[in-house]
């Protein structure tokens, strides 16, 4: 029974990682960049929804929508102002810029909202019957897992069935050829950032609902872990992010329960290293042979 409750908390944590990892993996797949500011977009999403609920007393659903809109605009702005001018530059220049953006968001949040942690009231208002909560299932966990599944299905359909999704896949394969086929590469990349940031907002709301404290640095550790999850599953692959996120969450939860709380992060990263050594492109990543 105890095992079951750890499994549930692992799956729910993993679902949050998966949602964040989707943002990482999509941006990486198309723009070939590690967007280190993604974790801080989560934090912004958390704060916006917090303000909407606590100060403006908006209903939770509206607050989540508001957070998504703000984060989407933020994501597109970041891409347009900071990353687009560096499209032709080396990957390190883009990485450092992303780190700059991350510092900027954290410190701006610190100036606006202060360093004292905000106590987040969960956006999930219904309560489950006692028979379920005794199993360790909380309403937050249920909502988190359900949203993750819905997002996953919606995103897969979007990428595989729509014209925009086709454009995204084309850009991730070959930007030059995509442009020759009449695809607006810049618009496609902006769209990717928009989707990724909207997902980050949802992840922020879910994360804060589960852990209830909100700080300017809230997003950085989940950000790094989700990035790990994306690599774990094979970066650039959408099902990979889902699988990687879930597995990472479960491993972390089990390590916390049965080995050591202090070492849980170390174990997660150690598993990642082992996986990468056995399968250098991640679980579901595709191997691209090097051409001479």
């Amino acid at each position: 029974m105890v095992f079951f409750s750890y499994l549930i908390s692992g799956i729910s944590l993993g679902s949050v990682y998966a949602i964040i990892a989707l943002g990482y993996t999509m941006v990486y797949g198309i723009a070939k960049m590690l967007n280190f500011a993604h974790g801080d977009v989560i934090m912004v999403g958390g704060y916006i929804s917090f303000c909407a609920i606590s100060y403006l007393s908006l209903p939770p659903a509206v607050a989540v929508l508001l957070a998504m809109v703000v984060c989407t605009v933020l994501g597109v702005l970041i891409e347009g102002l900071a990353y687009r001018p560096l499209r032709q530059a080396g990957s390190l220049a883009v990485l450092i810029t992303a780190i700059g953006v991350s510092y900027f968001l954290q410190n701006a949040a610190q100036l606006i909202w202060g360093v004292t942690p905000k106590i987040y009231t969960s956006v999930v208002s219904f309560r489950l019957p006692n028979s379920l909560t005794r199993l360790g299932l909380s309403s937050e966990a249920l909502v988190t897992v359900l949203s993750c599944v819905v997002i996953m299905v919606a995103l897969t359909t979007f990428v595989n069935k729509t014209k925009m999704g086709k454009a995204m896949r084309a850009c991730s394969e070959d930007k030059g050829a995509a442009q020759l086929m009449g695809i607006n590469v810049n618009a496609t990349i902006s769209m990717t950032f928009a989707i990724g940031s909207a997902l980050a907002a949802i992840a922020g709301v879910l994360l804060c609902s589960a852990y209830t404290t909100l700080l300017p640095t809230t997003g950085s550790m989940p950000g790094i872990k989700a990035f790990t999850a994306a690599v774990f599953g094979g970066i650039g692959s959408i099902p990979g992010a889902f699988v990687g996120g879930l597995l990472l969450g479960i491993i972390e939860s089990m390590a916390k329960a049965y080995i050591s709380t202090d070492l849980a992060n170390a174990i997660v990263f150690a598993v990642l290293i082992v996986v990468l050594l056995v399968k250098p492109t991640g679980l579901l990543g595709k191997y691209v042979p090097e051409k001479v």
């Binding site: 001018p85 410190n107 790094i224 992060n265």
Partner: protein, 365 residues
């Protein structure tokens, strides 16, 4: 300069680097002796030296060897804690402090080199961003492992236990008069401060001599050949793994030395000081100083360490300002119009870029 005209250009640059560092040291040291520095400035001196060593050693991996490492602070951490343990526990064996400091730095470098080998063997099989994420992961693992470490010493020698649950300092079973050096998550406490600015200067010079000589040697040329084109380098008989390991382990050892000096500069030390953000900070020094450019790393580390410290009067706004400067500098240095205007430095920067981007794109698309 006429007498120097017989020398190669790189040799001249190297000598200029040594000369510049020495001059800067002498000026600052003179002012320090005359009491011309504020307390805050004095407290920057040793950390600046440590971060110069960190930046130069990371440049060896990122700039010269062309592998993105996001876990450099992990090696600094290993060096810092092993150096602190050595420095504290050898108090009886080596009473003379400067010698003990040297021994502590050597111990730090040795342990970090061992960590470098352990990390390097699996990591260097990977490429590009995968290598970056694994170094990041190793940095985090090292941080967490040190958080679980309990170390103390008494007349019988060192006592080390690995805390997986609820063990405390009492479980070390130290004798009377024994001292706990590392107390798990509390980190190392009660450290005797041994580092000095002079030691920092010596370490910087030693690092520069090692790294610059390595780069200008046959080994260094092999490392750079691998960076520029791995397949071509392999086809002319360069042992890729061996040379990558040389660069990686040398860099780790130097980071360990810097860590030992850094650790012995403070009364207490926690492992979270060497987290992901520290690795990133050093990477920023290297990139803004110029990839593969050693004197650039020296200047980058000095300026970028002092800048946020000097901006302390602006309190909350300083890091915001730092972030904006960082973004603007990256945008400006990569702007094609500005690049054309810039002189030879920008020319070199630009000349290297397209080759690297192409290689990166092929290997992990």
């Amino acid at each position: 300069m006429k007498k120097l005209s017989g020398l190669k250009k790189t040799t001249k640059v190297d000598f200029a680097t040594y000369l510049g560092v020495t001059l800067a040291f002498l000026i600052v040291y003179y002012r320090l002796q005359r009491g011309g520095l504020t307390n805050a400035m004095t407290s920057w001196l040793v950390p600046v030296c440590c971060f110069i060593v960190m930046a130069v050693s990371l440049n060896l991996v990122v700039g010269i060897s062309g592998e993105l490492s996001l876990g450099h602070a992990g090696f600094m951490s290993v060096g810092a804690f092993s150096g602190v343990v050595a420095g504290m526990s050898l108090r009886g064996a080596i009473p003379f402090t400067p010698v003990r400091l040297v021994v502590a730095i050597l111990v730090g470098a040795l342990f970090a080199a061992v960590a470098g080998v352990i990390v390097g063997v699996p990591v260097l099989r990977l490429r590009g961003d995968y290598l970056a994420i694994v170094t990041l992961a190793f940095g985090q693992i090292i941080k967490d492992l040190i958080n679980c470490l309990l170390v103390g010493y008494d007349s019988k020698g060192l006592h080390i236990i690995f805390n997986l649950g609820k063990k405390t300092v009492a479980d070390l079973h130290l004798e009377e008069g024994g001292v706990a050096i590392i107390k798990g998550a509390q980190g190392a406490v009660g450290i005797q401060k041994m580092s000095s600015f002079l030691a920092g200067y010596v370490l910087v010079m030693v690092t520069l001599v090692i790294v610059l000589n390595l780069i200008r040697s046959r080994t260094g040329r092999a490392i750079m050949a691998i960076r520029d084109n791995r397949i071509a380098a392999e086809s002319v008989g360069i042992n890729v793994t061996k040379y990558k390991m040389i660069a990686f382990v040398t860099s780790a050892a130097l980071a360990g030395a810097a860590g030992a000096l850094y650790g012995l500069n403070y009364g207490s030390l926690v492992s979270s000081r060497f987290d992901f953000n520290t690795s990133i900070l050093v990477l920023v020094y290297v990139v803004l100083g110029g990839l593969g450019n050693i004197w650039g790393s020296v200047i980058g580390a000095t300026v970028l360490y002092i800048l946020p410290e000097a901006l302390r009067q602006f309190a909350d706004y300083r890091m915001l300002f730092y972030a904006i400067v960082l973004i603007l500098v990256m945008l400006a240095t990569n702007n094609p119009h500005l690049q054309q205007l810039a002189g030879t430095v920008a020319e070199r920067f630009r000349g290297k870029k397209p080759a690297r981007a192409g290689e990166g794109g092929q290997s992990h698309e």
